[in-house]
Amino acid sequence: MSMRKISFGKAINEALHQEMERDDSVFIIGEDVAKMGGDFGVTRGIWQKWPDRAKDTALSESAIIGLASGAAVCGLRPVAELMFADFIGVAFDQLVNNAAKLRYMFNGEVSCPMVVRAPTGSGIRTAYHHSQSVEPWFMNVPGLVIVAPSTPYEAKGLLIASIRNEDPVIFLEHKSFYSIKGDVPEESYEVELFKAEVKREGRDVTIVATMSMVALAEKAAEKLAEEGISVEIIDPRTLFPLDKDTINRSVAKTGRLVIAQEGPKVMGFGAEIAAMVVEDVFEYLKAPVKRVTTMDVPIPFSPVLEDYVVPTDVDITEACKAVVEF
């Protein structure tokens, strides 16, 4: 495959172009996704090529998600954009009570192959209505799939896999990633859904990290390596349903778990991981599990406040040391 460095945003854009090219049933819909190419520029060039398959809508998130699910039942493959993941709140019912349950409702006779792309997370100084981590709102809803890439390579391959997947996918794009570059093949490819990735192998402690936390975990791992602590990093990539085995196996090996998570601690996705581990591999646990998370507050605007409430690599390093020294 011919690799070159492109940005996370461009990788997603390329995935969309290639899937639109490959499959006539794929279309995009959302606010300003067509003519302007998206608020973050991710859908550029699609409307120009396929004007009938790129729809700018009114500010109507329920209608966007509702339309997508109805179209999906008819065999189309909508890729809807929510300008910010936070806006999922006004379309919550459509995802939780409709898209997620359609297949079950129809006794398995239909499926709902739609993707909802949603820029998520904090860090770009947009305060509490444009900085939330929404995955915990949906991880208790069977029928949904939540995907969260942390590299341009994954972004492209996971989006392609999501579009081809038969169930409704919430595709989280960390908004701090868009301009970050990485190796991405030119060709179309899938990165397998429902499969965690071991980003670094290690012996002493497992860090489960996702999206923006992966790079911090890697930084922490480097520092810990200097101190003789060997860290294994696992990125679930699909947050729901979860690849339990990969995580459980790693924790069984290292005996220690730190979860690095953006978003408030209580009932963050780390809660599920910690609970799973203490249920499934308790006998291997040598130390308490630790969750390194955003503080339990709305995300404030001012950079000094935002930086204060969001976890850092130092927090991860310290958590790892604490569990190793336990």
Binding site: A58, G70, G143, P241
Partner: protein
């Protein structure tokens, strides 16, 4: 313009069928055989039968929660609809949905939804797919007067009107949302005028006059098929029962109910068949007997049907993950 008399006769059969079906459901809901809530359409037969009659099987139909009647007229084997209401394993959805959730994709019954207003936006998707694929299937939403309060209704009609999507909003105005009269929760005298704000053609029809129902619906469906966009029709009618089987409906005056019973859509159609079209009484009473037998045989099927296999509860959550990969 009146309907052909054969068609009216057939509609009579369908309305009597709904009436009988619902009366039997009422008995089995009240005696506890049917679990959960059951919302009956008695009194609304003309609107239910008339709207479905104006559609093709390939049109996408979104019945409301009072939708048994619509569901047995869409083409599904009727006993499977009833079995679903009983929660049996033979039900059209395997018993997972019950009275509030009857779907059948094969005849494009897109199902009722427990969240009022929700289907107004889902229907945008099936309508969009019709345009996308270049076919002419119309997406038809049944909704109560009360349902019009939901925000989703606005997002739906706004988008449908802007994009001229083939959507038909059938507002079945039975005047109450549970205990609340529509004049207490909406500012309009007639709800149809709400569509004026979107430039969407709309009309009010007598929902107990099956011929008026068919004709207005056909006009609107025609418009949608021709690419002229959505229409909203308000069908004025009344539900004889309470909100659900067992609701005493103490919130409404007895005289009002009596007045509407006098406007019974079934009787009215019968009178027309006898008086205007000159059908002999016997033909109509044969239909009535046939319907009783038909419903009894469905009932027998349901009562003899097995409960669902418990393992079924775990199936069909995902198409692409777990068991069904």
């Amino acid at each position: 313009m009146a309907l052909l008399k054969e068609r009216l006769l057939d509609l009579y059969y369908k309305m009597v069928l709904i009436r009988e079906f619902e009366e039997v459901m009422d008995i089995y809901a009240k005696n506890g055989t049917i679990p959960g809530f059951v919302h009956l359409g008695i009194g609304q037969e003309a609107s239910q039968a008339g709207i479905v009659d104006a559609l093709k099987e390939t049109d996408y139909k979104y019945p409301d929660h009072r939708g048994h009647g619509v569901s047995i007229l869409c083409g599904t084997d009727r006993k499977l609809v009833m079995a679903e209401i009983f929660g049996k394993g033979t039900g059209i959805n395997g018993g997972r949905g019950g009275s509030m959730h009857i779907n059948d994709i094969k005849v494009r019954n897109m199902g009722f939804n427990g969240i009022q207003g929700s289907t107004t936006v889902t229907a945008l998707g099936t309508a969009f797919a019709s345009v996308y694929k270049g076919n002419k299937d119309v997406s038809v939403i049944f909704m109560g007067d009360g349902t019009l309060g939901e925000g989703a209704c606005h997002e739906s009609i706004n988008m449908a009107a802007t994009w001229k999507l083939p959507v038909l909003y059938c507002v079945i105005n039975n005047q109450y949302a549970i205990s609340t009269h529509y004049r207490e929760s909406h500012p309009q005298k007639q709800l149809a005028t709400w569509a004026d704000g979107y430039g969407v053609p709309n009309e009010v029809v007598d929902g107990n006059d099956v011929e008026a129902v068919v004709e207005a619906t056909e006009r609107a469906v025609e418009r949608a098929r021709n690419g002229d966009g959505p229409t909203l029709i308000e069908y004025m009618t009344y539900r004889w029962q309470g909100h659900f089987a067992g609701d005493p409906a103490a919130y409404r005056p007895d005289e009002e109910l009596q007045e509407w019973k006098n406007k019974c859509p079934v009787k009215r159609t019968k009178a027309r068949l006898l008086d205007v079209h000159g059908f002999p009484e016997k033909i109509l009473s044969d239909i009535e007997k046939k319907v009783v037998d038909e419903v009894q045989s469905m009932l027998k099927f349901c009562l003899e049907s097995p409960e669902p296999d418990t393992k079924e509860a775990l199936k069909h959550v995902y198409a692409g993950f777990g068991e069904e990969i």
